[in-house]
């Protein structure tokens, strides 16, 4: 286990560094001049030159990269091209929205899909089992922003139960206030996510229910429910966990769209704005954090799988 952990950690580190380099190079190779976002429609040639100097577009790419990488090793993400403000404090502030949103939505989706998926599998012939399957089919085909828009029109504009957008100025100083702002976004993400998760859970449950070890466990005299709990969950959990890792990462990054619908000051809306303005330091900063989160989640999912089922032959990259 220790050597596995070491190898897996080394892989984490190397893939992270490579991903960061790729992002930097990709951004620089692509066309577009970041200084343009600083200009007005009456900019003079001197102002154009000043804007280019401000974003460092007048320096060679290699020089820009080395400077940026040196900063990174000191955990300094640099300063925004557009606002000249440091990147890291803004990301930190926005994580207080995105992280709770992701975790709550994920937890809620997990609860919904575990219940719905197992029911749909075990009671596949009952009307509610069929209904769950049908709804989950519908759920994977609906764009998430559409669900969000519907939620706002019904629960905010129609019923006036919840705020339509935004986040309290004082963040979590009043947790009830903050939770109220996050309720609709969380439900939106959770509903859409649980649709695909339900399908995975249902399929994993069906695999377990139809499996040989469950049959043999029952043949040896265990009760059905007991056998299901003791063997089924453990065996069914392994494929589900690797999916969960990816789904959690997807939720975290998929927040871009939802934050946009609900006007939340999270990482996603920061990225969107940065992309619009070609604000490379901000794009790199957000991707730095999100890549790190995604890779760490993958790491944890692999380790968890390994803990649950040590027989598993897992490659260092965790997928084989």
């Amino acid at each position: 286990m220790t050597s596995y952990l070491l190898r897996r950690s080394a892989f984490l580190l190397v893939s992270f560094v490579i991903a960061m380099m790729a992002i930097f190079v990709l951004l620089r190779l692509l066309p577009g001049d970041p200084s343009n976002a600083l200009l007005s429609v009456t900019a003079t040639p001197e102002q154009i030159a000043a804007a280019q100097a401000q974003v460092g577009a007048d320096r060679p790419v290699l020089e820009q990269f080395l400077a940026w990488f040196a900063q990174l090793t000191r955990f300094d993400l640099g300063e925004s091209f557009i606002s000249s403000l440091p990147v890291w404090p803004e990301i930190a502030a926005r994580l207080t929205v995105t992280v709770p949103l992701t975790l709550m939505a994920f937890a809620l989706a997990l609860v919904i899909s575990l219940v719905a998926g197992v029911v749909a599998a075990i009671k596949a012939d009952r009307w509610y089992g069929i209904l769950i399957s049908a709804i989950s089919q519908l759920g994977v085909a609906v764009p998430v922003f559409w669900v969000g828009i519907l939620m706002v029109s019904v629960f905010s504009v129609g019923l006036r139960w919840l705020p339509s957008s935004g986040f309290p100025r004082d963040d979590w100083a009043d947790p009830a206030d903050a939770l109220r702002s996050l309720t609709l976004p969380v439900i939106t993400v959770a509903l859409v996510m649980s649709a695909s998760l339900t399908r995975y859970v249902r399929s994993a449950t069906l695999d377990v229910v139809g499996s040989d070890y469950l049959r043999s466990a029952r043949a040896q005299g265990s009760g059905y429910t007991e056998a299901l709990w003791r063997h089924g969950l453990r065996n069914g959990a392994v494929p589900v966990i690797s999916i969960l890792g990816i789904e959690l990462a997807t939720t975290f990054l998929g927040a871009v769209v939802v934050e946009s619908v609900f006007g939340l000051p999270g990482l996603g809306s920061m990225l969107l704005k940065a992309i619009e303005q070609h604000d490379y330091p901000n794009i790199q900063g957000v991707l730095f954090v999100s890549t790190l989160v995604v890779l760490v989640i993958g790491f944890l999912a692999d380790v968890a799988q390994r803990l649950i089922d040590p027989r598993l032959r897992v490659s260092i990259s965790g997928n084989r």
Partner: protein, 497 residues
């Protein structure tokens, strides 16, 4: 893991419950203690007027946090603010300003002439990115004979000098870190800027003039117009500074709880030709295109019953406005005749570089279908804002494009033959220069009217329409500005009933 799920689920349930019983808890005992929630689409990038703060910083800070020697009021006139009075020498080259007494910065320091000098010099400095820098090219020296007097000497007459001064914020000369903090003299102090979300201003108790009518204003920033109107509908904001689409307006216009204000804007949607290149170097061809486009229908498509048609670059709030909409009337038959006399009887084909954001794509499609009727084929080339600056603005490599020009008094750009649209009429260039050197505003107005008429005659561009400036507010608030001149939004008179 289980525990966490339980905790979170509890939290959600609790929040749903709370949401059920909580309604907008406004704790305003009296109007003067009120907090005004303002909704806007324009969040500042930073808080500096020099370094890419954008129109958001003007909206939130101009007149609210920072003040100039002069102020452009909501109806477009220029009034003294921090300058108590001024005298101008007979040759129009020396301006002497005496400052208001008892003005202090938010940091507590008293305003002196040194601060004024430093603030003007900051705009003029080599690394300044202020959009106004070029307006002050005539300044040769700034002197401060005493603490409350500033003397500015110009190299040549500049009739717009006082007006231009209204754009210069007077900032404490010792202040640092102006990108995240402020030190101005205005009626509000910056309380907190929560990036991506809101900016709160609170009343400055030691303000030299009349105190603000409310205790706090909060600018809430939205990225999406629909979300913004939802927020107004649900009472999360009291006022929307500038509605950018008429789609949601019917929800407010038929509702006694809201007031829809149709004010004056200075933002023009323009079909810009590259006047240097064929076929748009031909006046008749440009006029043909102007007459081929039914701007009335276009305006109605984009803005419903709002907005104004203009016949040239000048909006009605500029002193040299004239109604020139009949110079190039909508008349497809005339357009065909003009095309023939312009040497293009069979029509032609051109590429329209269209910025990818609203309203340009829709306008481009409309222009395309209108011009098809007179035999002109338009190829729409959609480009990003970034490409627009690189290709159209800097390289001037385009045939025609769409763009909005937001500032007031910006007809003078037609006097600059190097500007991206390449309009080069030596008469106009000379008149613009003469207007600036005028001794009186009457003289300036007369000259610029001449410019105005000439560019309309030449159809230098097609001025498609003037945006409306729509402020929608809850009927509970009053005293807000209704005209969106240069994106400013004075908040100090807003009161909650």
């Amino acid at each position: 893991m289980k525990k966490h799920i339980g905790f979170v689920a509890l939290g959600l349930a609790a929040s749903l419950l709370l949401a059920g019983c909580a309604t907008g808890a406004d704790s305003s005992s009296s109007a003067a203690d009120a907090t005004i929630e303002i909704g806007s689409l324009y969040e500042p990038s930073n808080l500096s007027n020099f370094g890419g703060g954008g129109q958001g910083v003007t909206e939130a800070f101009n007149g609210n946090v920072y003040e100039g020697l002069y102020q452009l009021t909501d109806d477009g006139s220029v009034e003294p603010l921090l300058a108590e009075s001024n005298t101008v020498s007979d040759d129009g080259l020396t301006y002497t300003f005496s400052l208001q007494d008892g003005v202090t910065f938010h940091s507590g320091k008293a305003l002196t002439s040194t601060d004024v000098k430093a603030s003007i010099e900051a705009v003029l400095s080599d690394d300044s990115q202020s959009a106004r820098k070029s307006s002050f090219g005539a300044i040769t020296s700034i002197e401060t004979p005493d603490e409350s007097t500033v003397v500015v000497t110009l190299a040549e007459r500049s009739i717009s000098f006082i007006y231009n001064l209204s754009y210069i914020w007077i900032i404490n000369a010792d202040a640092t870190d102006l990108e995240t903090t402020e030190d101005g003299t205005g009626p509000y102090v910056l309380d907190e800027w929560k990036r991506g979300s809101s900016l709160a201003l609170t009343r400055f108790d030691d303000y030299w003039g009349d105190a603000a009518a409310n205790a706090e204003v909060v600018f809430n920033y939205f990225t999406d117009a629909t979300a913004l109107s939802n927020a107004l509908l649900t009472g999360e904001v009291d006022i929307v500074t500038s509605v950018q689409s008429p789609d949601a307006l019917s929800q407010f216009s038929d509702n006694a709880d809201y007031v829809v204000n149709d004010g004056d804007s200075t933002t023009k949607e323009i079909l810009v030709f590259n006047d240097r290149v064929a076929p748009f170097d031909n006046v008749d061809v440009r006029k043909a295109i102007y007459s081929a486009i039914d701007t009335t229908k276009l305006l109605n498509s984009i803005w419903g019953d709002y907005g104004t048609l203009i016949g040239s670059m000048v909006p009605p709030t500029d002193p040299w406005y004239e109604d020139l909409t009949e110079v190039n009337p909508y008349d497809p038959d005339l357009a065909k005749q003009l095309l023939a006399s312009g040497g293009q009887p069979d029509g032609f084909e051109f590429t329209l570089d269209t910025p990818s954001y609203d309203p340009h794509p829709v306008v481009a499609e409309f222009v395309k279908s209108e011009l098809a009727k007179v035999g002109i084929t338009v190829n729409i080339n959609t480009i990003s804002a970034d490409e627009w600056y690189t290709k159209v603005y800097k390289a001037q490599d385009f045939t025609a494009t769409l763009q909005e020009h937001v500032n007031d008094r910006d007809v003078v750009w037609y006097g600059n033959p190097d500007f991206y649209w390449g309009y080069n009429n030596p008469d106009v260039t000379q008149w613009v220069a003469e207007a600036e050197a005028s001794a009186t505003t009457d003289e300036q107005t007369a000259k610029l009217k001449q410019v105005n008429e000439q560019i309309a005659q030449d159809a230098a561009s097609v001025w498609l329409y003037l945006y409306p400036q729509i402020v929608v507010a809850s009927s509970d608030v009053s005293g807000y500005p209704v005209n969106g001149l240069n994106s400013q939004f004075y908040a100090y008179d807003i009161a909650l009933k």
